[in-house]
């Protein structure tokens, strides 16, 4: 019961943060720009002699770029909104009134985590769903596995959230935010290095990418999501920048899930043991 009360109050607290509304406005702004761009592109195609097959591939590539933008927005929003929920409340003393209630510490942390998981879910549903809908209604294209792709984007957010929570039990808000964003940067770079390694089959570059993905698997999860959503033809023709030459395996998704729970487990353990 305590977990759900904490989840509810955390969701309401998160929903009042300016950063969430800023990210939501950014997401709506993106949807607006994406929709207009898509409409213009479709109109231009209609007046040109570009074959329908090619039109479809170009619009599909645009959709993937749109989904990637949503993915970045969702991960950054999740990190920035949740970064002070543990460390900030410890610093301000707000946590004292909660931690002295008849709740185990794990209930507090898991409740807070669930609140942010729900918030990320809503954000991803709005922005990711909106992008998919625009692609379908305006561009006439549909991602191959939109639900699975959306769930992978959501998983990526939850991985970032768990890492943020883990560092939040140790460090100040600023420090844990810098560390988590730094790790996301490493994952981003590693993912693209691994992608580049596919062109030359360079094993050393691929190894750098794999190690980066093991350190922070967020980008690998996105690349798997891109693979799941891209049309098979577009992927085989390597039509877009997300046409993955080095596709993260299902085992990497399993690793991301294990990684998530290990990070969360460490967060629970450290939060339970530390002085407040």
């Amino acid at each position: 019961m305590g977990v759900w009360i904490m989840a509810g109050i955390t969701f309401r607290e998160a929903a009042r943060k300016k950063i969430l509304w800023t990210a939501l406005l950014a997401g709506i702004g993106f949807l607006l720009v994406f929709g207009i761009g898509l409409k213009f592109q479709v109109g231009d195609f209609r007046n040109s002699g570009v074959p329908p097959f090619l039109r479809y591939q170009v619009i599909s590539a645009m959709l993937m770029i749109g989904l990637y933008t949503v993915d970045l927005l969702a991960v950054v929003m999740t990190t920035l909104t949740s970064v002070d929920t543990i460390s900030g409340e410890i610093t301000s003393g707000t946590i004292h009134a909660i931690a002295t209630k008849p709740l185990a510490r794990w209930q507090i942390l898991i409740g807070k985590w669930l609140g942010f998981v729900a918030m990320s879910g809503v954000y991803v549903a709005i922005t990711f769903g909106g992008t998919i809908a625009e692609g379908y209604w305006i561009g006439g294209v549909m991602a191959r596995n939109p639900v699975y792709g959306g769930l992978l984007v959501f998983l990526e957010c939850v991985v970032a959230l768990s890492v943020t929570f883990m560092f939040g039990t140790w460090f100040s808000t600023l420090t844990s935010g810098v560390i988590t964003l730094g790790l996301l940067g490493v994952a981003f770079l590693g993912g693209w290095l691994e992608q580049m390694s596919g062109f030359t089959e360079g094993s050393r570059l691929a190894m750098v990418g794999i190690i980066s993905s093991l350190v922070m698997p967020s980008e690998a999860v996105w690349r798997r999501a891109a693979f799941e959503m891209e049309s098979p033809l577009s992927a085989s023709l390597q039509f877009s920048i997300f046409s993955d030459i080095s596709i993260p395996s299902g085992a990497m998704i399993g690793y991301a899930c294990v990684y998530l729970f290990i990070a969360l487990g460490i967060a629970v353990y450290h939060f339970s043991e530390r002085d407040l």
Binding site: G93, A97, A99, T100, K101, P102, E273, L276
Partner: protein, 285 residues
């Protein structure tokens, strides 16, 4: 903390005193399970400190209470009540009466972000009482309160004792402690220095003011056997005595030494004076 040993009896108002850095807040944190002692043990309501079961019966007002600012006082109390497992139908009745008790009824629809520091303290005090705990830890409960608010806190503390609850009070305002507490403990550098039963304090140490002529140096020196801090300013002599029982002996000694005594006024030693006597001169208090 260092070898802190103390017992708080059920149903009393217990004052916890000490200079800055003495370890008062750390002690409270250990008793509440917010901090873990490196050694030793502590029990609250017969259970190891920090146990979830013990916290079921504990209320706590932290120093400088803060909480989510978008809540109204009623929402705050409902939330904390639910966290303590109080059923909704009881909260529906109890919350308005608690808000009234702490004087926040005129502000019932305001959000905490619009509250002054004193109003936040009142809201924090109400959340500490929402589940009718058996023991209440109050860390500087009158911080930020005006005189009326302080009197309200005193009345609430006494009402809690009267319903059988134990109150553990940490405050810098010694006059508050003096008129509220049944027992006080003084700690310094993590150790108990001394304790006082406030109900018996009137019988204990006292200050006496004497107006007399012919106070000889021998007479003044002789007074030191009953107490220290003997000060003479022409015909006015003040001193602190360890026990009020010594007062007749002192008067007899003065008269026997040839002093012409016009006035002999015992004054009760305030807690502040006792605090300074116990702790010594300013060491950061």
């Amino acid at each position: 903390m260092r070898d802190l040993t103390l017992t708080v009896r059920k149903g009393e108002i217990f004052g916890f005193l000490g200079p800055n850095g003495a370890g008062k807040s750390t002690s409270i944190k250990m008793l509440l399970g917010l901090a873990t002692p490196t050694s030793g043990e502590a029990y609250v309501l017969g259970m190891p400190a920090g146990r979830v079961e013990a916290r079921q019966k504990i209320g706590f007002l932290p120093e400088n209470f803060r909480f989510y600012e978008w809540l109204t006082p009623a929402e705050l109390l409902h939330l904390h009540g639910r966290l303590c497992g109080v059923p909704d139908h009881i909260l529906t009745k109890r919350v308005p009466s608690l808000i009234d008790l702490v004087g926040l009824t005129p502000h019932i629809n305001k959000r905490l972000q619009n509250f002054s520091k004193g109003m936040l303290q009142r809201a924090g005090l109400a959340q500490a009482l929402v589940h009718e705990p058996d023991i209440i830890f109050l860390d500087e409960p009158t911080s930020g309160l005006d005189p009326l608010g302080r009197r309200m806190v005193r009345d609430i503390i006494r009402a809690q004792r009267d319903r059988g609850a134990t109150v553990f009070l940490n405050s810098h305002i010694l006059s508050e402690i003096e008129i509220t507490c049944d027992e006080v403990v003084f700690i310094r550098e993590g150790e108990v220095v001394t304790s006082r039963d406030m109900r018996k304090m009137q019988e204990e140490a006292a200050r006496v003011e004497v107006r007399a002529k012919k106070l000889t140096p021998e007479c003044v020196a002789g007074l030191s056997r009953w107490g220290d801090s003997v000060e003479v300013d022409e015909e006015r002599l003040t001193m602190t005595v360890a026990s009020r029982e010594n007062l007749p002996d002192i008067l007899r000694f003065l008269v026997g030494s040839g002093a012409e005594v016009y006035q002999f006024t015992p004054q009760r030693l305030s807690l502040e004076e006792l605090f300074i006597n116990v702790m010594g001169e300013d060491r950061g208090f």
